[in-house]
Amino acid sequence: MNTFKLALRNLLRNHRRSLTTLLAMTIGAVSILLFGGYARNINYGLQTGYVQHSGHLQIQHKDYFLYGSGNPAAYGIRNYQHVIEVVKNDPVLAPMLTVVTPVLSLGGIGGNFAAGVSRTVVGSGVLVDDQNRMRLWNDYDFPLHPKKLALTGTAPDSAVIGTGVARVLQLCGPLKVKNCPQAQVAVASGADAPSDIAALSDQERVQDAAPTDTSPRIELLAANAHGAPNVASLKVVKAESQGVKEFDDLYVGLHLPQAQRLVYGAEQPQATAIAIQLKHTSQIPAATARLDALLGTTLKSEPLEVHDYATLNPSYGQITGMFSAIFGFIAILIGAIVLFTVGNTMSMAVVERTVEIGTLRAIGLRRGGIRRLFVTEGLLLGAIGAVLGVLVSLALAYLVNHGGLTWTPPGNSDPVPLTVRVWGEVPMIIGTAIGLMVVAVISAWWPARRAAKLEIVEALRHV
């Protein structure tokens, strides 16, 4: 008859009270785990989005992130092809890589001069095949069906624009964008387009435009590497919602060579970033360390630096931070409830069993033995509550995940299946279980101490 068995039997003795206490703990554990699973899911969902679009890491020109965005002329990576070769062939990095691809971001003005409208835009020049491969990353097994980029298989002068850009440039009609109210303001006609820009645009168009094509065209005006204006005429193949309105109102996606020609003309093309996608997010520290080492030695000729997706997307940290704060709040609240529930249960048990405590002490159990007995009861309550909580959470999570619920995460344009991740989240499960047990032990500690301190004679006289 060890302390454990004795404690268990004592819990079973007053099973109604033990069950009530267990129920409170189970509900507590379930709330923590389900919310934790939900928050985890959001975290992974955001992460997957970022990693699919811009990789885990980006190599950029030093200070580009802080000062250089939209200024490819001053902050381009000159030797980017060499850098990519080095990264891809590095024996340490190679096994971790899925995609390494250059990107050129540029700020400019997009104009539909035929309609006399223009707006500032951010152009993003990409290699379509690489981007499509990046979209396949799904390390967290989301039930996603990767869509190919709309630029896939299009002519070199094609572009995809955000629906916000389409709206302002009055291209909703030809691009068949739904929910696109037209501005009531009268605008100047295309005939008024500045002649010098029209001329620039015409020069460009001569090279590769197919005269029979009916797709609408826009002009993308940007500063070239020498600060002079340059224009590309782009064939808009599609308007696509970009989720976040600010981005949707700016986005122009185009093929990398086209973007490079716009900025660098006939000179050596550059990129503003090299996106690196890894097999697993957990490889970021190792990959970063290796990249830093390479940038300090082999690739020393250019001042480059490495950023991870969390740094590049500050909203990631803000959203996950907010969820962590809510999670912490819930955990503390539930910890307090468990503390008082178990404490109350154990206090009642001590009072009820006063004579028993006196008897045990009389026949030779030490004070420590009494304390251990009640603390063990608290621990057992905690352990059983934790196990029940985990099992119920797993069952509920299964039901939710197979219930066909959907939601639209922040920054997404399409709803995604609502899932809560409890299964497999070992640190969270173990942390919650241990936390619950620790709280149960702490709350059993005071009643146990009181029990141990009882005077034997007084305890035996108790009625």
């Binding site: 079973l12 026949i363 030779g364 004070r367």
Partner: protein, 231 residues
């Protein structure tokens, strides 16, 4: 050597700033392997005296030596261990652990004593057999009658082969017939195991069985009648 020696022992309780003298100037030696009864009217101090002998309470003054050990010098843990080894208790209300079976109740002091498993088992079974409850070993106290519970308690008190067994009115909660049987059982066990038994009672039946009788009144010993003196 006498298993219990009390020298000038005194004890009083404080009740709302009024001193209630419970015991005064107690000088008493309990002789070994005897059946000693503390006798006296209600409130005379029998329970208080037994508690002091049993090392579960401390006097205000005086000296107490149990089994050769000046127990007042012992710290709480040492005293607990001492009780576990040397003293068996039988209570008026039986005080068995309700969640343990008869077998486990008898076994409990042996576990405190760290008796090896094989020895433990033999001891428990032979004691249950001796108190006539071999067939109720698996029953919990709730499934036993008062007399049966007190038999389990007797077996538990004797489990560690203590020097001393103390019983505070062990028959007060039993009908007279069952009480008699319990007294006879204790007498038998005391003789067989050569243990020193001390208990309190005002039951004439019990007094008749006693070797030595210690009479108490108002917290003082008024008479000690020993077997030799009777003869």
């Amino acid at each position: 050597m006498n298993p219990v020696i009390l020298n000038k022992v005194a004890k009083h309780y404080r009740l709302d700033s009024v001193d209630v003298p419970a015991l005064a100037d107690i000088n008493l030696e309990i002789h070994p392997q005897r059946f000693t009864v503390l006798s006296g009217p209600s409130g005379s101090g029998k329970t208080t005296l037994l508690n002091l002998i049993g090392c579960v309470d401390r006097p205000d003054s005086g000296e107490i030596i149990v089994a050769g050990e000046p127990v007042l010098a012992l710290k709480d843990d040492a005293l607990s261990d001492f009780r576990a080894r040397r003293i068996g208790f039988i209570f008026q209300n039986f005080n068995l652990l309700p969640v343990l079976s008869a077998y486990e109740n008898v076994e409990y002091p042996l576990l405190l004593n760290k008796t090896p498993p094989k020895q433990r088992r033999e001891r428990v079974l032979s004691l249950l057999d001796a108190v006539g409850l071999a067939d109720r070993a698996r029953n919990r106290p709730g499934q036993l009658s008062g007399g049966q519970r007190q038999r389990v308690a007797i077996a538990r008190a004797l489990a560690t082969e203590p020097t001393l067994v103390l019983a505070d009115e062990p028959t007060a909660n039993l009908d007279s017939h069952t009480g008699d049987a319990i007294i006879q059982l204790m007498r038998k066990m005391q003789r067989e195991l050569k243990v020193t038994f001390v208990f309190s009672s005002h039951d004439p039946q019990v007094l008749a069985e006693a070797d030595d009788v210690v009479s108490i009144r108002d917290g003082r010993i008024t008479e000690i009648r020993r077997q030799e003196d009777v003869q």
